[in-house]
């Protein structure tokens, strides 16, 4: 209902010059997508939809060009039952570098497809972002398959990409959908310094159990309550830490604390170049606690049209893990803007025309 509801205005906005086509598409689609089992005299609904759309055309013509005054009203939808991006898409991003780069990459790809975008950087954690996506403050979010799946259904068992994609489709709340996942992957890593690894004989997450009650783990505050975090480490590996330190997402706090020895184990991202640069040891995960974390767009139904799908699928097919790692490095180390590195990458890979 939601998806078709918001589609009327962009549809008529983009084709205000041809009122007849607008009214016909919307009447058919609202008829075909009506699902209410009660009073469903199809013809009446179709007529109603047609009337609404017809009424909207002069109104729109009067206000002179694509104003959103009709957004959210009933009527029909185009684009195969999906939403429409004609009014622009607001991309939200989480509070760490890479997610902001991904947000700007999405913006570059969508911009090339003629979709207006606005990026809102640094909004917070997934726990904050997904309610905001449902509430309409943002429309699109660069997500990570496994982490998203475990957020939505903590008991999920799927680990293989395709299976996770299916599980996600089932677990997603009304009004949200995921698009095809990309090649690039950024997984959660639990890392220790070389010295700590040698001292305690740590090579895998399973080894942590031998040191139960002795080690301090540092991670972003939300990791304390996450399955891919303290909860899962206990359930899957039986690991118990001496203390959990609330730090940040592979940022200066957690890396500084690991370097200084304030924490023994740190939750980092595999696309963080500091892991290699500092020679930190990423503990292996024999029981597959950490699922695959391919980048996957999470979008509100109301904005998911074919233009968005295609643009993001092209991006997903082109962006590799190595690319993402390099872009992270440019932003974190060279202090370049996330927006600039994203645009430069998009231009270099033919996603946008070079200026």
């Amino acid at each position: 209902m939601n998806a078709q509801g918001s589609a009327s205005s962009p549809n008529s906005a983009s084709s205000a010059s041809s009122p007849s086509s607008t009214s016909s598409t919307s009447s058919t689609s609202s008829a075909s997508s009506s699902s209410s089992p009660k009073h469903s005299p199809l013809p009446r609904r179709a007529i109603l939809g047609g009337l609404l759309a017809a009424a909207s055309v002069p109104a729109l013509a009067a206000c002179g060009g694509g104003i959103t005054s009709l957004d959210g009203q009933g009527g029909g939808g185009g684009n195969g039952g999906g939403g429409s991006s004609a009014n622009g898409v607001t991309i939200g991003t989480a509070n760490f570098t890479e997610n902001q780069i991904l947000g700007y990459l999405y913006a570059a790809a969508l911009g090339a497809a003629g979709v207006k975008t606005k990026v809102r950087p640094n909004l917070g954690t997934r726990e904050i972002l997904i309610p905001a996506l449902k509430g309409g403050d943002i429309d699109l979010l660069p997500e990570y398959q496994g982490a998203l799946l475990h957020y939505l259904s903590p008991k999920a068992t799927a680990t293989e990409e395709g299976a996770m994609q299916n599980a996600l489709a089932v677990a997603l709340p009304e009004g949200l959908q995921i698009l095809p996942y990309g090649r690039a992957e950024d997984s959660d890593a639990f890392a220790v310094t070389r010295e700590t690894a040698a001292e305690y004989g740590l090579a895998s997450l399973a080894d942590l159990k031998k040191q139960n009650g002795k080690l301090v783990i540092g991670a972003a505050p939300e990791v304390k309550k996450r399955v891919v975090g303290v909860v899962g480490l206990k359930e899957v590996y039986g690991v118990e830490f001496k203390e959990f330190k609330s730090l940040d997402s592979s940022g200066p706090l957690v890396k500084g604390a690991l370097k200084k020895g304030d924490v023994d184990v740190a939750n980092l991202f595999t696309t963080d170049t500091d892991i290699a640069a500092e020679g930190w040891v990423v503990l292996t995960d024999p029981k597959n606690l950490v699922p695959g974390q391919h980048v996957v767009p999470l979008i509100a139904d109301r904005k998911a049209d074919s233009a968005v799908r295609k643009a993001l699928a092209r991006l997903g097919g082109a962006l590799t893990t190595e690319d993402l790692t390099e872009l992270n490095r440019q932003v974190d180390k060279d202090k370049k803007d996330p927006e600039d590195v994203a645009n430069a990458w998009a231009a270099a890979h033919g996603l946008v025309k070079k200026r």
Binding site: G92, N95, R120, P121, G124, I128, G135, I138, G251, P252
Partner: protein, 218 residues
């Protein structure tokens, strides 16, 4: 720790946008705060029992951390500018309410009595006699509230807004001092300019305070 000057010149546009957004949040909050606190202050001034209650309540609000207020507003207004403005307004209320009540208290009883004797209606007395005479104290409150709001806006960076405050979280995440320095300097400048403007406004609005002292008091 050095400042990267080329970053500053390359980001002049972004810095302007953030500064304006910062200013807009702070000023909206002060205006809303004034609109809410004026009637409340009149009430607190007239009805003695309400006075302690209103001032006490606003004092307690002041002790709540601003970041918590922003977060607790999320279910109401989400990740929007509205959340920022509501949060800031709450803090301006504390200062504005207290100063407005004190301003009304400072109006000489004789001035009010004279107006009443001349048959002026209560509302008219309030608008033409009491509020103008209370203006210096009220304006002192407006100045404090404005500077405080300008300094507080940046806390909203934790909920993805915060104007110049975004430069702080950005610089923090990337170990990059330049945006942080720029954010602090611009915040201070903004406060300085806003305060200077308010002083000018007060000067214009209260001509009687400018008269030579000798003629004012005997």
């Amino acid at each position: 720790m050095t400042v990267d000057w080329s970053w500053l010149s390359a980001h002049a546009g972004d810095l302007t946008t953030l500064t304006l957004s910062h200013l807009q949040a702070a000023l909206t909050a002060v205006l809303l705060g004034l609109l809410i606190s004026l009637p409340l202050a009149v009430l607190a001034h007239r009805v003695r029992p309400l006075r302690g209650l209103l001032l006490g309540m606003s004092n307690v609000l002041f002790t709540i951390p601003s970041i918590a207020v922003f977060v607790l507003l999320l279910p109401v207004s989400g990740l929007t500018r509205t959340t920022t403005v509501i949060g800031l307004t709450i803090y301006t209320l504390v200062v504005l309410l207290r100063n407005t009540v004190e301003g009304l208290d400072s109006v000489p009883a004789k001035a009010r009595e004279a107006a009443v004797a001349m048959g002026t209606r209560p509302l008219r007395t309030l608008l033409t006699v009491e509020l103008p005479l209370a203006l210096p104290v009220i304006m002192a409150g407006v100045r404090i509230a404005t500077v405080m709001s300008i300094s507080l806006v940046s806390v909203a960076t934790y909920i993805g807004d915060g104007g110049l405050g975004q430069l702080f979280t950005d610089g923090f995440q990337r170990d990059f001092p330049t945006p942080v320095v720029a954010g602090i300097v611009l915040t201070l400048l903004l406060a300085l300019v806003a305060d200077a403007l308010l002083v000018t406004v007060q000067y214009v609005l209260t001509p009687w305070t400018r008269r030579p002292r000798t003629s004012g008091r005997g």
